[in-house]
């Protein structure tokens, strides 16, 4: 489902000019996690990931590890691994939904609260998507969209922070840690590590920018 069109190209250009590099990096990382958690990487994506590099930071080293893993994996391996991890027979090793992590069941109150929050942000599911919105890939996609302005103007940090702290932070670090340690994971282990590190970075950086003044400016 990759239909590029002028209507999405325009805001991206605008955003690229106005959004600082490190904020765009966040959006790209959310998008990458969203893509890898929504479906297994195909051969083209594995080839692309095989060329990424990282700096000396722990996150950067994880990108280098991701590149090595991508270079070593075939699309068939990755598809089988994805299936075992997230789909399985009956269920996969992991159940990547907020409601499940927070209550032990799917479709519980956290999903309803998330839907309210998304409605408040003007974000709705496309009709043909049946997947609940609290799937980790959907949440990552929404965060990327808020940062880049895919749903209108780029969302202020305060708005991003609210969604993150209420609907992602309470469970995503645990999910990514479990992915990192999952028995059936190989390629996806490092995806789990990157996700866990990133959620930690987001948690800290949102907390450090929490201020009444920024909140007022956002409303």
């Amino acid at each position: 489902m990759t239909v590029a069109s002028a209507s999405v190209a325009e805001p991206t250009d605008r955003v690229t000019r106005e959004i600082p590099e490190e904020e765009l990096f966040r959006a790209q990382l959310y998008s990458l996690l969203s893509r890898l958690l929504a479906a297994a990487p195909d051969a083209a994506l594995l080839a692309t990931l095989g060329r990424i590099s990282g700096d000396a930071s722990e996150l950067g080293q994880s990108f280098a590890a991701l590149a090595r893993g991508a270079a070593a994996a075939s699309a068939a391996d990755a598809a089988a691994e994805y299936h075992d991890l997230f789909i399985g027979i009956g269920r996969g090793e992991l159940v990547p939904y907020g409601s499940y992590y927070l209550t032990g069941f799917l479709h519980e109150r956290p999903l309803a609260e998330l839907r309210d929050a998304l409605a408040g942000l003007g974000v709705v599911r496309v009709p043909e998507v049946k997947e609940p919105e609290d799937h980790i890939a959907a949440l990552c996609e929404v965060m990327a969209g808020l940062i880049e302005g895919a749903f209108g103007d780029p969302a202020p940090l305060t708005v991003q922070r609210r969604l993150f702290e209420r609907h992602i932070a309470p469970w995503a670090a645990r999910f990514f840690a479990e992915l990192e340690a999952a028995q059936t994971a190989k390629f996806y282990r490092v995806v789990g590590r990157i996700g866990r590190l990133f959620i930690g970075i987001e948690t800290t950086s949102f907390a450090m920018t929490a201020s009444d003044e920024l909140d007022r400016r956002a409303t």
Partner: protein
């Protein structure tokens, strides 16, 4: 932007960069070949949501 907000944002930027979010190996590396924002795109232009200006579409990756 006020001084306090400026200070906060500078602190944030410094923190993110320190932890590997950005820089030479950052955004450019991740977007190699357009990895990043390729999945979210308008697959179908108009739905009933159109009448409400504030309701925008949420495009999720097709998995099923």
């Amino acid at each position: 932007m006020s001084e306090q907000a400026d200070r906060l944002m500078a602190k944030r930027r410094e923190f993110l960069k320190l932890l590997g979010m950005g820089g030479a190996a950052g955004a450019a590396a991740l977007t190699v070949g357009g990895v990043a924002p390729s999945q979210a795109a308008p697959a179908q232009p108009e739905t009933g949501y159109r009448e409400t200006a504030h309701v925008r579409k949420f495009y999720e990756t097709a998995r099923f």
